[in-house]
């Protein structure tokens, strides 16, 4: 068993464990901290897949900026610990249905993937460029330009919306 395999199982176990803690634990702050662990373990799996850029962006954006924002909001709202809800409401059903549907869709596409671990390793030029900022950037600005720009417009709308909402209260 190579080091990569050992590390994969280690990171996978950490991801699942900390993700489970996020769902189970009551205190919102502990959930948030556990989410940091999930993000870091995921970043480790990305590194094992040779996607360094995605791994670093994962830590930079999620474990850094987004987590700080989460913690900030939790602290400012000072949420009281709530007991387990037993009522079956429409939104709960909707959420559960959406989760199951997403899982089914992901599982379907994962099963459809060809299992060829050395598919790109055979081409040394492709393997050397894989996952670098260069190759990711080129893909983003050529093949995936439209979705990329659409997401940036979405973010701009979100920023403007946040300013409008906050301004009306001040």
């Amino acid at each position: 068993m190579s080091v990569e395999v050992v590390l994969f199982w280690l990171f996978a176990a950490c991801t699942l464990l900390s993700a489970a803690v996020v769902v189970v634990v009551r205190s919102p702050l502990s959930c948030a901290i556990s989410l940091v662990g999930t993000f870091f373990s995921l970043a480790g799996i990305y590194v094992l897949l040779w996607a360094h850029t995605i791994a670093v962006l994962q830590v930079l954006v999620y474990a850094g900026a987004i987590m700080v924002l989460f913690l900030f909001v939790i602290m400012l709202l000072s949420l009281a610990e709530v007991g387990p809800g037993t009522k079956l409401s429409f939104s709960r059903l909707l959420g559960a249905g959406a989760a199951v549907a997403l899982f089914a869709a992901l599982l379907g596409s994962i099963l459809k993937l060809p299992v060829r671990p050395d598919a790109w390793a055979a081409d040394p030029a492709k393997a050397a460029a894989f996952g670098t900022l260069d190759s990711v950037g080129k893909l983003l600005y050529t093949s995936y330009l439209l979705p990329f720009e659409a997401v940036s417009v979405l973010l701009l709308v979100a920023i403007v919306g946040a300013v409008v909402v906050a301004k009306s209260r001040i």
Partner: protein
């Protein structure tokens, strides 16, 4: 580091690294050794800086400072560490016990992880990561998560205020820092710290600081942003003693308290090393040109002294910058919260944004004008070299001379004698 280890396995141990059974074991041992060495370096630097900073503070305030333990008091940090180790580890009963205990480890991890990519000299770094600069920015985010948790878990109003201030400050100043770091990245065309250094030169006019106006302005924006991110004066609002007792670490004692301060002093090295890499030419030795180095590398004959001299050059620049940060701490008063925020959002962020756009346009234009030649260092006596030198003289030397003249005038105006070499 992998190539280096493979070379050792091949030449010293006489084995083929691709097929030898113990190759992975050698990697593992080497990684452990490198990790321990780098963490020890960080801790030692932080300890020595805590002594050095107190000595400088004392000098600037006409006091003596710690001078009892060891020659000139240099071993003071060992005595402090011993005291903090044996002190009781107090955890107040109202605090969130688990988070309270975990917070210092987050902070230390965010500090120690940066050493994975930081260069120390020619070919001297644990890894040569393709996304090195982004990596430094991303793992330092752990520090603020730790500070925020420590403030919350203490369950004390002073700690909470300190933690929330720290979060607001660091998240805000990450934006100008992240933007302005793109200026050297655009100029070098890489995020790898070694590539950024190699794109610069040994002499001051080859540094990115003096190559373009964007680099010159970007240096100061990055300096201010990193000061704020490291919670250094004049941006030490999260631990403002006069308002918040001691800020986020108010409830901590013993070794957990020491971890926070270890990180803070150690961050001096991290921020100075990043500045040195991005704008001050890193480990480039004056007189050794890029062609020289390329010739040595092609022949596999990089002389041994070059490793040492480049490391010395890098450390000298970094320590000098760290010293400037210490001088600033004992010179400037703390800014107010609203001043801190308006400086970031109203001035630094728009300026950094403009610099990035300008740098991108300039790079594109120089690529159009000079073609592939724009990628390599220009010799001094060429059109590009002269443009750079003119900017170096106008943008760097003139303000420096004016600043020193003004400083000397101010000192002599008060009636003090000006002694340039001994007054520091």
């Amino acid at each position: 580091m992998r190539e280096f280890l493979d070379e050792i396995i091949r030449d010293r141990l006489g084995q083929d690294p691709a097929s030898w059974a113990l190759t992975q074991g050698v990697y593992l041992v080497a990684m452990m050794a490198a990790g321990i060495a780098l963490t020890t370096f960080g801790a030692l630097f932080a300890g020595l800086t805590s002594w050095w900073e107190r000595r400088i503070a004392a000098r600037m305030q006409s006091r003596v400072g710690p001078n009892r333990v060891g020659p000139q008091g240099i071993l003071q940090f060992l005595a402090d560490a011993l005291k903090l180790l044996v002190k009781e580890d107090l955890i107040s009963s109202a605090s969130d016990r688990w988070l309270f205990r975990a917070a210092p480890y987050f902070v230390v991890a965010g500090f120690a992880l940066t050493f994975v990519v930081l260069p120390f000299g020619y070919h001297l770094s644990a890894t040569r990561m393709n996304v090195g600069l982004f990596y430094v920015l991303s793992v330092t985010a752990l520090v603020v998560v730790g500070i925020l948790i420590s403030g919350w878990a203490s369950n004390s109003k002073w700690a909470l205020f300190g933690g929330i201030r720290a979060a607001a400050q660091v998240v805000s100043y990450e934006i100008p820092a992240g933007l302005v770091i793109l200026v050297p990245v655009l100029m070098a065309g890489s995020l790898n710290l070694h590539d950024i250094i190699r794109a610069q030169g040994g002499w001051p006019w080859d540094w990115y600081l003096f190559q373009t106006p964007m680099g010159y302005a970007g240096f100061f924006i990055l300096f201010v942003a990193l000061l704020a991110e490291g919670n250094r004066t004049p941006f030490d609002l999260p631990e403002a003693e006069s308002e918040l007792v001691s800020g986020y670490n108010t409830e901590y004692s013993g070794m957990r308290f020491a971890y926070f301060f270890l990180t803070e002093f150690g961050n001096l090295w991290v921020m100075s090393a990043v500045m040195t890499t991005c704008f001050l030419g890193g480990w480039q030795v004056p007189g050794v040109s890029a062609e020289n180095l390329a010739r040595w590398e092609a022949l596999h004959q990089v002389p041994g002294w070059f490793y040492l001299v480049s490391a010395a050059v890098f450390c000298a620049k970094t320590l000098l910058l760290a010293n400037v940060v210490i001088w600033i701490r004992w010179t400037f008063p703390r800014v107010r919260v609203d001043q801190m925020m308006s400086l970031c959002w109203k001035y630094l962020v728009p300026a950094a944004m403009a610099l990035v756009v300008l740098a991108a346009v300039t790079e594109l234009m120089s690529f159009e004008l000079f073609g592939e030649a724009a990628r390599v260092q220009a010799p001094l006596f060429s059109l590009r070299g002269l443009i750079h030198f003119a900017f170096f003289a106008a943008g760097g030397l003139v303000p420096a001379v004016l600043f020193f003249r003004k400083t000397f005038r101010n000192i002599s105006f008060v009636g003090d004698r000006v002694r340039p070499l001994s007054n520091w």
